[in-house]
């Protein structure tokens, strides 16, 4: 299994932000994206996750392999922790939320409504969702926001387990996770021409 990104350029809205990004990730490898705010880390991750098309270049990855976690956790406040995780497990056709709960030490919060969780607990629940997807390629956007040191370590351990099992992780983060990960600084890939794309409504054609 491989994730190959070849010479990709992508846009945020109508603004071309990065271009010429290439890398290859094989099973068991992780890549950390770095770069200043606004460079296009989120845009690149969303493009690879398939939420928006690339302007140029190719992204090659196996079908139905990607699990994406963005800035928002996608939790439903009125539902409990267990209901939130069970929902995602059934969407992805996997069973058992225990390992996800244990990965983030959330067993005690099982019946708590998601809206009563703290910001860090919500984030933990959002990340625990990755475990129940059963997908080999994880795309994580700023996963450690609002996590304390102990939970950042739990997160690093979860990613390490995922990599050991032959998974791939691609994340944008500024925190040193202590993982054996390649680092890609996006600063040199900043798009030179900041002019808007001429065909704004290309998607409608």
């Amino acid at each position: 299994m491989e994730l190959v990104v070849k010479n990709v350029a992508c846009a945020r809205g109508s603004l071309r932000v990065i271009e010429g990004v290439s890398f290859t990730l094989r099973a068991g490898e992780a890549l950390v994206l770095r770069g200043p705010n606004g460079i296009g880390k989120t845009t690149l991750l969303r493009t690879i996750a398939g939420l928006q098309p690339a302007l140029e270049g190719q992204i090659e990855l196996p079908e139905d392999a990607v699990a994406y976690a963005g800035h928002a956790d996608g939790l439903k406040g009125p539902l409990s922790v267990a209901q939130n995780l069970t929902f995602w497990a059934s969407i992805y056709g996997t069973r058992g939320i225990e390992c996800a709960l244990e990965a983030f030490d959330m067993t005690a919060l099982l019946d708590r409504q998601a809206q009563d969780l703290s910001a860090g607990q919500k984030r933990r629940l959002g990340l625990a969702r990755m475990e129940v997807t059963g997908r080999p390629i994880w795309i994580l956007d700023e996963p450690t926001v609002s996590l304390d040191a102990a939970n950042t370590a739990l997160f690093a351990a979860m990613v390490a387990r995922h990599l050991d099992a032959g998974g791939i992780a691609l994340m944008a983060t500024h925190i040193e996770l202590g993982l054996e990960a390649k680092v890609l600084d996006l600063t040199p890939f900043k798009a030179r021409d900041d002019a808007p794309e001429p065909f704004l409504d290309g998607g409608f054609l």
Partner: protein, 218 residues
């Protein structure tokens, strides 16, 4: 998909959202009409069908902006789009959940409210039948409108402006079905037209709505 349907239904009931709201709105509109047009039973009998249909249509409109907006705001729409669910299926399930929480209850209470409006007894069965056939189209068209406006802040008004004109054929043939039955005419033609509109929207709009969501998420 079943999980998504159950989640949406649970959220609609728990969050105090679409479920009671539309029904209460429908009730209030129908109760207000006699105050507006006067208690003359003859006049009420004349307008009963139209009021029930317009009321159901407006009640349906109320909860449309919740279909995708809440999922968009908390990020779960992104996650659902990257999940194994086909987006067209997701849209269809969302429309079904909307219908089960608004269209179906509206259909079931319509004959009771028909009593308040002095609806002709021969119309009771037909108002249920026409709403049962027509409200799925209202939910599906509304879901398409919601998909077009997902991501817009305060898109509710624009959504209403987009969707209401598209509701016109359903309203015309739905109300006509009941009116003809009450007046003692054959109502096969409007009934068939109503069914045709519903089937057509169910067949086409999930694909259109899915395309609209893909574009709006960029």
């Amino acid at each position: 998909m079943r999980a998504l349907l159950f989640r949406d239904l649970a959220l609609a009931v728990k969050a105090g959202g679409g479920f009671g709201l539309s029904l209460a709105f429908f009730l209030i509109v129908v109760v207000l009409v006699p105050f507006g047009v006067g208690p003359d039973t003859g006049v009420l009998r004349e307008v009963a069908t139209g009021v029930l249909w317009v009321g159901a249509l407006l009640a349906c409109l109320l909860s449309l902006d919740r279909i995708f907006q809440l999922d968009y705001e908390d990020g779960s729409l992104d996650l659902l789009v990257t999940s194994p669910l086909p987006l067209e299926g997701l849209v269809a399930v969302k429309a079904l959940a909307h219908w089960l929480t608004t269209g179906l209850p509206l259909t079931l209470v319509a004959p009771i409210l028909g009593v308040l409006l002095n609806l002709d007894p021969s119309g009771f069965g037909w108002i249920v039948a026409s709403l049962a056939l027509g409200t799925p189209a209202l939910s599906m068209i509304g879901t398409f409108g919601a998909a077009l406006t997902v991501g817009l802040k305060r898109g509710g008004l624009l959504l209403s402006l987009l969707v209401l004109p598209l509701y016109v054929p359903t309203l015309i043939f739905g109300a006509e079905t009941v009116r003809r039955a009450v007046d003692g005419f054959d109502n096969t033609t409007p009934l068939l037209m109503l069914s045709g509109i519903t089937l057509g929207t169910l067949a086409i709009l999930p694909f259109a709505a899915a395309a609209a969501i893909r574009i709006n998420l960029r």
